[in-house]
């Protein structure tokens, strides 16, 4: 009896194409996906997509602890091999960084499974801005101008930051790697719909390849798109200059991503809607258009199936938002003080949860007599403080307090 081959769908990114959103929804809908025949690993006790791919590449982010990564790729492939579901989906944007050899190794890990590769691709202008912002959020220092000039310069491609960017965003090069590993008609380019499209459209497109109905999935409640904006990004960049790389990757990530970014995003809510959104400066329109055209031609030349519309990848330039770095010192100061207060609050609470030694009351040893005297004084003090607070609000109480203060010393 012929057995249908298992399908393994690798969603390889690209970076900054809504992967966090997609992964968030999939994670929240593991059971629904399973009931439509799709295994989305990463549940309790299962290997994580990210660590599995890090392990495939040999990557060990500083501070993550080697033990959490070692062996994760093998665990993942075994989990998929042992599953009863006809389709398995992995989603991790770092997969797009695979060399041909690594891609081959990844594909081979699944034996004779029917391998499908999904590549989500987005308008290069938006991607470049997001990528710069992401770099700043990972302790980098370059300004947008430095960053964009490097991206536009062919001679700078082998050097940071352009190397990192094109490694992640050179669509023809990435398609070239994967079409050597799986047949071209198994590599699916999914275009990210432009700003203003119907929400859920991207997920619908991905679902049409993988084989799930995006409409049946529920969005996780706490899906908060942490958008830091032009001011917050510039603030972080200037803060990085002073941090001098003293934090390791994981420490930095935890403070900035988990604490500062939400604080800055929340503070930004008060600014006029969208006013702080990053906009591509005019100086960059030409090279972005040129490169976007190269991407589109490259995709067409590869002959891979496209879900969505290649026109989605043509940069749209509008007037909303503001160019990166165009922030006044006053705005930065406001943001810095917001961030300082927010971070202090989180810090204080974290420290507070960790106190403990303080509760070893030495007063326990005090004799009963002393404790009674002490408690009486405490009650008296509280009473006085309450009276004084009242005096700050109530004129009658204030007069009484004044009289008391004058008489206190002339008993």
């Amino acid at each position: 009896m012929p057995v249908t081959k298992r399908r393994v769908v690798l969603h390889i990114g690209l970076h900054k194409t809504g992967t966090t959103y997609i992964q968030g929804v999939l994670r929240a809908n593991r059971e629904r996906l399973a009931s439509s025949g799709v295994l989305y690993p990463g549940g309790k006790g299962q290997p994580s997509h990210t660590f599995a791919v890090y392990d495939l590449f040999g990557r060990r982010p500083r501070g993550t602890g080697d033990d959490r990564i070692t062996g994760q790729w093998e665990s993942m492939t075994r989990l998929i091999a042992e599953s009863d579901l006809p389709t398995a989906m992995l989603s991790e944007e770092a997969t797009s960084l695979a060399s041909a050899a690594q891609a081959k190794k990844a594909a081979r890990s699944f034996g004779d499974a029917d391998m499908q590769v999904v590549v989500t691709v987005r308008d290069l202008g938006r991607v470049a801005l997001s990528a710069w912002q992401e770099d700043v959020k990972t302790d980098e220092l370059w300004t947008w101008r430095e960053y964009a000039d490097a991206l536009a310069d062919d001679a700078a491609r082998a050097k940071a930051p352009a190397r990192g960017f094109w490694l992640r965003q050179d669509v023809p090069a990435i398609l070239d790697v994967w079409t050597r590993v799986v047949p071209a008609d198994h590599v699916h380019v999914v275009t990210v719909p432009p700003v203003g499209s119907e929400p859920g459209e991207l997920l619908r497109r991905v679902g049409s390849v993988v084989g799930f109905d995006a409409g049946a999935l529920v969005e996780p409640e706490s899906w908060d798109n942490v958008s830091v904006g032009a001011t917050g990004t510039e603030l972080l960049r200037q803060m990085n200059q002073r941090l001098h790389r003293q934090l390791n990757q994981r420490q930095y990530h935890d403070v900035v991503e988990s604490d500062l970014a939400p604080i800055l995003a929340a503070a930004g809510v008060s600014t006029a809607a969208g006013a702080d959104r990053l906009r591509l400066p005019e100086a960059d329109h030409a090279w972005v258009t040129r490169e976007a055209d190269r991407m589109i031609e490259g995709i067409q030349a590869c002959g891979v199936p496209v879900v969505g519309d290649l026109a989605d990848l043509r940069p749209r330039f509008d007037d909303s938002g503001r160019p990166p770095g165009e922030v006044t010192d006053d705005e930065l100061l406001d943001a810095a003080i917001d961030a300082l207060a927010g971070l202090t609050e989180r810090f204080a609470r974290a420290k507070w949860r960790r106190r403990g030694r303080d509760s070893d009351a030495i007063g326990d040893a005090a004799p009963t007599g002393a404790r009674v005297g002490s408690a009486t004084r405490s009650a008296w003090f509280r009473g006085k403080r309450a009276a004084v607070n009242l005096a700050d609000r109530n004129p009658v109480a204030e007069k009484a307090l004044g009289a008391y203060l004058r008489r206190r010393n002339r008993h």
């Binding site: 033990d67 050097k159 090069a173 420490q251 100061l333 303080d358 005090a366 002393a370 005297g373």
Partner: protein, 419 residues
């Protein structure tokens, strides 16, 4: 050991005032506890000794929010420790003792019946006390602007309201002396003036030493605490912190605020910024001088023993200067960014030291044979990254890498055109 009849056993209560260099003095005495003891002076505290500030809080019935359980029974603990001390002289220092009512002052003195009780009051000119009190209010979660603060301290109509009340209750020397002379004979109350700006810092230590009976030259240990020298604040730091308090809106309790802001943030800001000279406007200096003169007159009329020069207590013309909140946006931004980076680092370190960052071994339990391959990949990755970062620094390596990238690209294009 000297003979210990009642007269030769003395206790000196250094009662402040606030903002007269008390933190500086206390840290110095704390660091030199052993050297004071060699000179016959017991300064309570140390590893197993009573904590002076807790004892005084207990005397007043004060329970700082969040630290309630540490206070109970501490005053009796202190008086017992003093009673048991073999040293002829004891020194206690806590500026909050200046807030004592007559009853509280009497209760404090009554704690040391077998000692001759003396009171030491350090006093600074009222102008500098005013600036420093505003700065302290900012470091204590308050949000008054400098001008608001000064105007309220000046206005007799709001003297019984916060924050003027809080200023005068701490800085009205006449009232403080009146309370304490009800508990301690006038001739045992010693007023020590803080030397004017520019005078050597040791002068204050020497002046108090003259009263208490130690040789300041012997106190050679330097305090280690980061914030031991409670420096004046730069205008930018003060203004950033004031606005920071507005945003924080009292969401932290006293101790939380103290731990992060007083112990970490404010000292880090102080290390970074250079406090320029700040002062009073000519108009403000004039009214402060009138108040200061009243205080000096009362002091002189009272016949108290004074160490130092009373004229140091009246703000001089030369004390006018830029307001203590006058800072440019640039300076403030610089301060805020510096504070942010310092705090992020501290926070990350706290987080890192906690359990959250420890490698999670449960995930790696199942690795059957994947281990060695996984490690080879890790080594290869590290090597590659090493080469890449070399390319960012070395032109030769960059050239080689560039060539490689181009080669790969060309190969890809050829492959694409064939298909």
């Amino acid at each position: 050991m000297p003979d210990m009849d009642a007269g030769s056993r003395r206790i000196f209560l250094h009662v402040g005032l606030y903002k007269t260099g008390t933190t500086f003095l206390q840290n110095l005495w704390r660091a030199n506890r052993g050297r004071l003891a060699q000179q016959g002076v017991y300064y309570p505290g140390g590893r197993d000794g009573p904590v002076q500030i807790f004892a005084v809080s207990d005397l007043f019935g004060r329970r700082p929010r969040g630290g309630e359980d540490r206070i109970e029974g501490r005053w009796d603990e202190l008086t017992e420790a003093v009673g048991a001390s073999p040293h002829p002289v004891t020194l206690i220092s806590d500026e909050s003792l200046s807030l004592a009512t007559v009853g509280e002052a009497r209760r404090a003195a009554a704690g040391f019946t077998d000692r001759e009780v003396h009171v030491v009051v350090t006093v600074r000119d009222l102008g500098r006390a005013l600036v420093s009190s505003w700065q302290e209010s900012v470091k204590s979660d308050e949000t008054w602007t400098w001008q608001d603060f000064v105007d309220r301290v000046r206005d007799p109509a709001v003297r019984n309201q916060f924050p003027a009340r809080s200023f005068w209750i701490r800085q009205d020397l006449t009232a403080v002396l009146e309370s304490w002379q009800a508990a301690v004979p006038r001739e045992r109350i010693h007023v020590v003036t803080v030397p004017p700006p520019g005078a050597p810092k040791d002068l204050l230590v020497e002046r108090v030493g003259e009263v208490v009976g130690y040789d300041a030259a012997n106190l050679t240990e330097t305090p280690t605490s980061e914030s031991w020298d409670n420096r004046a604040m730069a205008a930018a730091d003060a203004e950033v912190l004031r606005r920071f308090n507005q945003i924080l809106d009292h969401r932290l309790n006293e101790r939380q605020y103290h731990r992060i802001v007083k112990r970490i943030l404010a000292p880090r800001l102080a290390q970074h910024g250079n406090p320029g000279r700040v002062g009073l406007s000519p108009d403000d200096r004039a009214w402060v001088a009138v108040e200061a003169r009243r205080i000096v007159d009362d002091l002189t009329a009272g016949g108290y023993q004074v160490v130092g020069d009373v004229s140091d207590l009246i703000p001089a013309e030369s004390q006018t200067g830029p307001r203590p909140d006058a800072a440019t946006t640039d300076e403030k931004l610089d301060a805020a960014l510096h504070g942010l980076a310092e705090l992020a680092e501290e926070y990350a370190t706290l987080w890192w030291d906690g359990s959250g960052a420890r490698p999670d071994s449960s995930r790696s339990a199942d690795r059957r044979g994947g281990g060695w391959r996984s490690r080879i990949r890790a080594t290869r990755f590290r090597t590659k990254r090493g080469l890449l970062s070399l390319a960012d620094r070395s032109r030769v390596a960059a050239g080689a890498l560039n060539g490689y990238v181009r080669l790969r690209e060309a190969r890809r294009r050829r492959a694409a055109s064939r298909s």
